[in-house]
Amino acid sequence: MGILQVQNVNKSFGGLKALNNVNLDIEEGSVHAIIGPNGAGKSTLLNCFVGRLRPDTGTVKFNGRSLLGLSPHEINQVGVARVFQTPEIFSDLTLLENVMIPALAVRDGAFRINGWGRVDAQADIRERAEAMLADVGLADKLTDHSGNLSRGDKRRLELAMCLVQSPKLVLLDEPTAGMSRADTNNTIDLLARMSEQHGVTKIIIEHDMHVVFSLAKRITVFAQGHPIVEGTPEQIKGDPKVKEAYLGGAQV
């Protein structure tokens, strides 16, 4: 019994079957990669996990509890965090504030009025946020406006915003897209470290095979809304179906 169980999930957009009878079982503490051609339905699946989309049929259970019908913030509060394909950050706020908000959400829950104390007096939160930002390599930009970051930095920031919550499950939709090699390597290190330190379960969608094969313990390959193969990195690398549908002649 894994931490996240997906059974018979289907989702159509008009005539298009974006998810076709998806079954998936994510093991607690693992790093699980989902790969597959563009348009295979990977992001759609993630959207079904976080309450952004509702599957037409099927069930999604997190720690035995159904996520369907919960609103996004409730899903986050039970321990599921998400990094988006195009960075979603608070672009009017400073980096520090960006990371303090999710930290506050963990400490204070979905809603709590604390209108009198100062933000900077929340020493615990601030420390956590600063440490987290240092971890992702943004320590020198604490009070910069996040809107002015380059895209690579925005991704790192978003990652920090998710990780600072110490979630049980992190969903990462192409976390290194657009990152330079150097930053990608840093991110791989960071994610690896997080796994070691906190045993966080991760689902990663990625097209960068370097990232996938450095991190993932298990890989599911999607095509046309359906998981076609699942296995260890070694199995996937060798699978002819995967080669044909996804990897092509790429060296991995």
Binding site: H73, N76, L93
Partner: protein, 384 residues
């Protein structure tokens, strides 16, 4: 927008102290501007408070309400009813007004906050217009319609009767500890409330709650995926700003015990929006400043007439004077709206983000100029 973590607690306190001194000294420095009389200063304080409260909603969360005048109106009517039933003491009136306006805001906010953006704005507008239309007509027994609700000698005023036994005749002015709340004492009474309101708003802006509200404005979607239930946050902000409006409405009646229905009309809601944007939405002092600018032009420019203009331009040679006066008279007296309209346009065009924000920009520009010196030549303006 200033962000929280860049400001220090000391800096804030200093700023607030400076502000408090400026407010309390208003009779001194406003007199040369022709605005140092009690009624206008009361209006500055009261509308300042209204705008400061509105800014908690609009400036922080970005929800643009076009119906806040309804809460002002509810506050006013509540206060006058409190005068009529309980007595002329302002404190119960204010307390009741805040509570009732808050409750009303809760109801309207609860419904309206199901929508965002312009849809939210129109929902609030619709509620306020309904309140206004009904107050003007069907609800006349409660609101006294067009004339406005007033305190009459025949009103029960139970507390007054209890205190003063028989002697309750005399002027129907709100009175605290024997001091009548009009004129200068009235202004200082309002000023104290303004300072309290400002201080609360200072605290809110710098608090985790304020941070959450700013984050809602910045990216509501991210908020939801961060485990935060945005609706109650926004609703709280809505109710708080409604309570400020209720307080402002009550103070209007404390200083002048009449509640007119027009204070609920959409133009009144629009006015507070304009005040806030004009001064600088999301800034701490901007809304107060915006309120000052609008109330000043409403009261001072409308009061000019040809006679006053002739006095002002009297030093000019006759022919020139005539011409100058006839041009100037287009902008004052019955033309004061023209001045106001132009003012709106000029400020947004040249000071985007409002007076405060514009001030910051000019400051920054000057600083850059000063530092750069020859930079101008090195970076000539724009190839387009």
């Amino acid at each position: 927008m200033t962000t929280i973590t860049r400001e220090t607690a000391r800096g804030d306190l200093l700023r607030f102290a400076l502000f408090a001194v400026l407010i309390l000294a208003m009779p001194l420095w406003l007199a040369p501007l022709g605005a140092g009389y009690p009624d206008l200063m009361q209006k500055f304080a009261i509308y300042g408070l209204f705008a400061v409260g509105f800014n908690i909603l609009f400036g922080l969360t970005g929800y643009l309400s076009f119906g806040h005048a309804a809460f002002l109106g509810v506050g006013s009517y509540t206060a006058v009813w409190s005068f009529k039933l309980l007595g002329m003491n302002p404190l119960p009136a204010i307390a009741l007004a805040i509570v009732l306006a808050g409750a009303f805001a809760w109801v309207i906010g609860f419904v309206s906050l199901r929508r965002t953006g312009i849809y939210f704005a129109i929902l609030t507008l619709a509620f306020a217009q309904m309140s206004y239309n009904l107050a003007y007509s069907v609800l006349t027994p409660i609101t006294n319609g067009e004339t406005g609700l007033r305190v009459l000698n025949s009103d029960p005023r139970v507390l007054d009767h209890m205190m003063g036994a028989g002697e309750v005749e005399g002027s129907l002015v709100s009175t605290l500890f024997g001091i009548e709340m009009n004129g200068l004492p009235g202004f200082y009474f309002c000023a104290v409330w303004l300072l309290i309101g400002m201080y609360v708003s200072f605290r809110l802006f710098r608090s985790p709650f304020g941070l959450m509200l700013m984050a809602i404005k910045s990216n509501q979607n991210r908020m939801n995926f961060t485990g935060i239930n945005t609706r109650p946050y926004a609703l709280t902000a809505f109710v708080i700003s409604g309570m400020y409006a209720g307080l402002a409405g009550a103070l209007l009646c404390v200083t002048d015990p009449l509640a007119g229905a027009e204070r609920m009309q959409w133009t009144a809601s629009g006015e507070v929006v304009l005040m806030t944007i004009l001064g600088g939405a999301g800034t701490l002092l901007g809304p107060m400043l915006g309120a000052g600018i609008i109330k000043y032009s409403e009261n001072i420019f409308s009061a000019f007439n040809e006679q006053t203009l002739h006095e002002i331009f009297g030093f000019l040679p006759d022919g020139v004077e005539g011409a100058v006066v006839s041009v100037a008279s287009l902008f004052v007296g019955e033309g004061w709206h023209l001045t106001l309209g132009l003012l709106f346009m000029l400020i947004v065009i040249f000071l985007p983000g409002g007076v405060i924000e514009g001030g910051h920009r000019i400051q920054a520009l000057l600083r850059r100029r000063g530092k750069g010196g020859g930079a101008d030549q090195a970076h000539p303006q724009a190839a387009e």
